[in-house]
């Protein structure tokens, strides 16, 4: 028996959300009295892999050969299925992302496993059943689920479980597994990605701008504030529809769902569809010139004022932090 955790990476290091999944895996493995094994696919050095040890893995399976050079849910699902069978995993944990859920959907079929995505806490163990909690109706409600059967596959919401940092030095084993022929049917052409930026979905802090900012030329101050706070930038849907900002920054019901420690919304009205994407945030700050803006009802802190006056002052204050 074991708990197997898929570690997703970005720029050759393991994502924080995956380290959280390993920490959750460790906590679950303690309850199940079993081993915590992480699996990393791709090009990582020993230092990056040992982050998994610190987060709670006692063993790391490292797969470099026989897999596509870019992340492929199809290929990775077959690798994970092979590994899960080999280490007799009773639970496979991933972190919630398009890649994670792409893997999870196929893996759950291959392992004939019960599955749940976007789980909000370390599952509770009740005999052979795992009890999990997840948000539904895009953040408007919660559900409690029981997962039965011999194997469970679960993806964990980001920033939901505290990171463990006092683990051990994990043993690292290089392995190869059979990759499904189907993976080859998706022919990768290229990736268009802003490198070096903090990923919106991984960020501890997000500074987001709405139509109140009037035009793309005014995003300089949003970027500057974000940079000073170590934050990622986001936006409302009209802003990406108008092409003021790239689509992958659009937060909300039909965009990216974020759950940072701090979400700062500037010139966003707080439509219910926007709130659906940010309700998992720990603390919300709203800056809007209209005191009646609905976003204030969902906020912890607020400033009623003109963004073009308030944000420059915040930038000055942030420089002194």
């Amino acid at each position: 028996m074991s708990v197997l955790i898929f570690a997703e990476g970005v720029d050759k290091s393991i994502k924080k959300s995956s380290l959280e999944a390993v920490s959750a895996g460790f906590a679950l493995a303690q309850k199940l009295n079993t081993e915590t094994i992480a699996i990393a696919i791709g090009d990582y050095d020993a230092v990056a892999l040992q982050e998994l040890g610190k987060a709670g893995a006692t063993k790391v399976i490292h797969v470099t050969a026989g897999v596509p050079a870019y992340p492929s849910a199809l290929a990775y699902a077959s690798v994970l299925a092979g590994a899960a069978k080999e280490v007799a995993a009773s639970v496979v944990l991933l972190s919630k992302s398009a890649l994670g859920d792409g893997i999870l959907s196929r893996l759950s079929v291959q392992l004939n496993a019960a599955s749940a995505t976007g789980v909000l806490a370390v599952p509770e163990v009740s005999g052979d059943v795992l009890k999990v909690r997840k948000s539904i109706y895009t953040g408007k409600a919660f559900a409690e689920l029981s997962l039965t059967g011999a194997v469970k596959v679960i993806s964990l919401a980001k920033n939901a479980v505290p990171l463990k940092e006092d683990g051990v030095v994990a043993t690292v084993e290089s392995k190869t597994y059979t990759v499904s022929d189907l993976a080859g049917k998706l022919v990768h052409q290229k990736e268009e990605k802003a490198s070096g930026d903090i990923l919106l979905t991984e960020a501890d802090i997000v500074v987001s701008g709405g139509r109140g900012l009037k035009g793309p030329e005014n995003w300089g101050m949003i970027e500057e504030l974000a940079k000073l706070l170590g934050a990622a930038t986001g936006c409302s849907k009209p802003v990406s529809d108008l092409d003021w900002r790239p689509h992958h920054e659009h937060v909300g019901q039909t965009g990216v769902k974020v759950s940072p420690n701090l979400y700062i919304a500037v010139g966003i009205s707080g439509a219910i569809q926007h709130l659906a994407g940010v309700s998992g945030s720990k603390v919300i700050v709203v800056i809007n010139k209209d005191p009646e803006a609905p976003f204030f009802k969902a906020a912890d802190y607020g400033i009623v004022g003109d963004a073009f006056e308030v944000v420059p002052k915040l930038i000055e204050a942030a420089k002194k932090l």
């Binding site: 398009a98 995505t117 992958h248 709203v286 002052k313």
Partner: protein
């Protein structure tokens, strides 16, 4: 060419969500139901492809009789026929098995779905269906161009996009800006009434997920306002009170 579009019947995005007193059932009183927004992108794309490729669109929903108005709306938007699998969805696995059972011998060249349902937010049914049918799948798809049997796709990845190619048949989970939503015209609405809607009974599925109960988030306390003339105070509060800086 034959396209299968899978749609959900979900509460309108502005709906207030509530549950029965025993927390076991969604309370649908006064709730307006719509085609899932992501599913509507899938359907709109199918309509684009229909115009260009002389395709037939079959729309599929797994749900009870109450979903038929939503299915008719999809027919009004441009689907040619509809199938309803007569069962209340219990979880993604159940739904995926039903869709796969319908699709298996249907001769579909393309299966379009939404990237995720906005009720259970799984984001997994497309992958499960593809795995069950032995097909490749891609999600979330923001752009899909078809040239003969070859599709060029832009898929959203964190912080950007990936461009890839795949041959028919495959499964895609769609999102904006793949296509513009179509507004049904009068002719569409009239013809939707007479387009075929076939009801099929579900296949048996051994479930392994049980929804025990539902709950609502705790109400949010009042917002703490900071004076616009002293924004530094905000950082002070975020650091020392909220402890998020």
């Amino acid at each position: 060419m034959k396209i299968l579009v899978c749609i959900t019947n979900v509460p309108d995005t502005t709906s207030k969500i509530s549950f029965s007193d025993d927390k076991k059932k969604f309370n649908d009183a006064g709730v307006q139901f719509i085609i899932g927004p992501y599913d509507e992108y899938a359907l709109s794309k199918a309509v684009d492809l229909k115009e260009k490729n002389n395709a037939t669109i079959v729309v599929l929903n797994v749900g009870g009789p109450e979903t038929e108005p939503t299915i008719r709306k999809a027919l009004a938007i441009g689907a040619d026929e509809a199938i309803r699998v007569n069962a209340t969805p219990t979880d993604a696995w159940f739904v995926a098995k039903q869709i796969a059972a319908v699709a298996k011998d249907g001769g579909y060249d393309l299966i379009l779905m939404g990237r995720e349902s906005i009720d259970f937010n799984g984001g997994v049914v497309h992958g499960m269906v593809a795995e069950l049918l032995g097909l490749p799948s891609v999600s979330p798809v923001m752009k899909l161009d078809l040239e003969g049997t070859k599709a060029t796709i832009a898929k959203e990845i964190e912080g950007g996009k990936e461009l890839l190619e795949v041959s028919l048949p495959f499964v895609a989970g769609c999102q904006e800006p793949i296509s513009e939503w179509k507004i049904p015209n009068m002719r569409g609405i009239m013809s939707a009434r007479t387009k075929p809607l076939t009801v099929v009974e579900p296949v048996a599925v051994e479930g392994n997920v049980v929804y025990d109960q539902f709950s609502l988030p705790a109400p949010k306390g009042a917002v703490k306002l900071v004076d616009a003339s002293d924004p530094a105070k905000l950082f002070d509060l975020l650091k020392n009170e909220a402890k998020v800086l």
